[in-house]
């Protein structure tokens, strides 16, 4: 009887240890994925702001639009430099403001006008790709964060502190809707 108990307990401990080590590896992978997606996010949003700045300084637009876009892109870039790969509230606000500036200025007429200029199609394609990639990279990042949070909420994970001292990851919430005139460019 005693032997049976010992065997049972050993087996139970083995199962728990196996589970914990698998889960630790899983968490490690998830944290790594978040690091990667966050740096992609950082890069893509910088690229988006740079593309807008390039368009603003290309002389393809009227002066008012130029100032509007350059200002929005510039403040987004300043926030990005100040905060690195973090996305605190002020940064999200200035990225959302850039989105709204794009939405307001890049209507169908303006887009058609740029497209008619020499190399215009190319400029638009570059801008559209940057805007799209930024939006996608945020979705991919938030996906990674949600997967990680789901695991970290598990009782055993919290009990054994499997995630160590890593802070709880947070999703990045901002408006990055692609302006309708730039879609399918």
């Amino acid at each position: 009887m005693d032997v049976l108990w010992v065997v049972l307990i050993v087996a139970l401990v083995a199962v728990i240890v196996l589970y914990l080590s698998q889960t630790a590896a899983r968490l490690d992978r998830l944290h790594h994925r978040i690091d990667t997606s966050r740096s992609a996010l950082q890069g893509q949003f910088m690229e988006r702001a740079n593309e807008v700045l390039a368009l603003a300084s290309s002389g393809r637009l009227d002066p008012a639009t130029t100032v509007l876009l350059a200002d929005a892109a510039d403040s987004a870039l300043n926030q990005a430099r100040a905060t690195g790969s973090d996305f605190p509230a002020p940064r999200c606000a200035s990225e959302s403001a850039l989105t709204r500036a794009l939405e307001a200025s890049m209507d169908a007429d303006v887009v058609a006008e740029i497209a008619a200029q020499p190399d215009g199609e190319q400029t638009l394609a570059g801008l559209a790709a940057a805007v799209q990639k930024a939006a996608w990279s945020r979705r991919f990042h938030n996906d990674a964060v949600r997967s990680c949070l789901a695991v970290r909420r598990q009782r055993l994970v919290r009990l054994f502190r499997l995630s160590g001292s890593a802070p709880l990851p947070r999703t990045v919430e901002l408006d990055d809707e692609v302006p309708s005139a730039l879609r399918s460019r």
Binding site: L18, S21, Q22, A24, A25, R26, D28, R29, L30, R33, T36, S37, S39, A40, G43, Q44, A129, Q132, K133, W136, S137, R139, F140, N142, D143, A144, R146, S147, A150, V151, S184
Partner: protein
């Protein structure tokens, strides 16, 4: 970029996902990428394209209520690891990862930038629920999820949580343009075209056959061309002789004959009653310049822009279908409008456009410069299946 794509289903038999992977590989190659496709190969005599790597012979097993030909087990896992190691990919792209196939094995075996595409809008199978922990671990490695349709995206969100970006199926428009009609076509009387499994009720051939008497009353010599596998005698068993003699069965057609059949028809009819998450055939017809009449399924309405790029009728309503077809046959100007609108719409889904979007997803997940490698961490079973020279 070096791209490794995993096709979950047999490469040597026709199928939607296989066709998608094939066209995707070609489109990515045209953009200058190096592509390797790992796929199950059932028929050893099939002439494999140079970019396809044999993923082993699939086994027929019952899965999710039907019989599927898939690959699994340690031998397949070892093959996947070998392919990942030899491929040295910048990005790994798996299709239909939530199925017991090479795709989930690849997710499980690899680390690095992994992109996955969801095709079907199927509900979660019991097998998946049972193996949830292991599958979940594999799913968690996917850096970017793509859904080919809104229905597929909703399925994914419901069962796995999170989100996916929508990149639709592509169509290679050039393959469908300027096709030569079949011999003897166009006829002097109207020709309608249907393609799909004729014994699969959801493809809706019976709805079209029930609409035929009314159509024949107005256009007596109308012919219905039917392409697709299934028992022809069963299909017209209960159909009046006046209708059945106007039906011509082509059987399972080659891709080339499919294109020619589109070019032979005045109208392509898609009477599907459900189960369609996208509607690639509609786009093929539109690329070929054949006006489309389709049931008002949500997926079809999206492709046809709520009737702007093709005519729609109430699903499963034969009388409405007959009315729509008769109207269109009597209105050449509207057919011409639909022909043009259809061509424009199809071009938005051209593989050149779609592949560019897929490329942008790859660029989004590869910014760190990491490559695809074998993943051994926390995988006791995985270690047993590692490539031999590594062990």
């Amino acid at each position: 970029m070096r791209v490794g794509i995993v096709c979950p289903y047999d490469w040597t038999s026709p199928g939607g996902v296989k066709a998608h992977v094939h066209d995707q590989a070609l489109a990515l190659q045209r953009l200058g990428h190096e592509v390797s496709v790992l796929a199950p190969v059932d028929d050893d005599d099939y002439p494999l394209e140079p970019f396809v790597v044999d993923g082993g012979k699939p086994v027929s097993v019952p899965y999710n209520g039907s019989v599927a030909k898939v690959n699994f087990g340690p031998v397949s896992a070892a093959r996947v690891r070998r392919w990942i190691k030899d491929g040295d990919f910048d990005v790994l792209h798996v299709h239909e990862p939530a199925s017991p196939t090479l795709s989930v094995l690849a997710c499980w075996a690899a680390r690095g930038p992994i992109v996955a595409t969801w095709h079907s809008s199927q509900t979660r199978s019991r097998a998946l629920t049972a193996a949830y922990y292991l599958v979940q671990t594999a799913m968690e490695k996917i850096s970017a999820r793509i859904a080919v349709s809104e229905a597929a995206r909703q399925t994914l969100v419901k069962h796995l949580g999170g989100d996916a970006v929508l990149i639709p199926n592509g169509v290679t428009c050039a393959d469908f343009e300027d096709a030569r009609p079949l011999d003897g076509y166009p006829r002097s009387a109207p020709t309608l075209f249907f393609i799909g499994r004729i014994d699969e009720p959801r493809k809706g051939l019976h709805v079209l056959l029930e609409a035929m008497p009314a159509i024949l009353e107005v256009y007596p010599d109308t012919q219905l061309l039917v392409a697709g596998p299934g028992d022809q005698d069963d299909a017209i068993e209960d159909v009046p002789e006046a209708v059945s003699r106007q039906v011509r069965f082509l059987g399972l057609v080659s891709d080339a004959d499919k294109v020619r059949a589109f070019a032979s028809a005045d109208i392509y009819v898609a009477p599907n009653t459900g189960g369609e998450s996208f509607g690639i055939v509609l786009l093929e017809a539109m690329a070929a310049g054949t006006p489309v009449v389709a049931s008002d399924l949500e997926a079809f309405a999206r492709v046809l822009e709520d009737g702007r790029a093709g005519a729609m009728f109430t699903s499963e309503d034969s009388a409405d279908l007959a009315r729509t077809v008769i109207e269109l046959l009597g209105d050449p100007a509207r057919r011409e409008t639909l022909r043009r609108a259809g061509r424009v719409r199809a071009r938005q889904f051209d593989w050149a456009v779609v592949a560019r979007e897929i490329e942008q997803v790859y660029e989004s997940v590869t910014t760190s410069g990491e490559r695809v490698e074998n993943d051994m961490r926390g995988q006791f079973v995985g270690r047993l299946a590692r490539p031999r020279d590594e062990a």
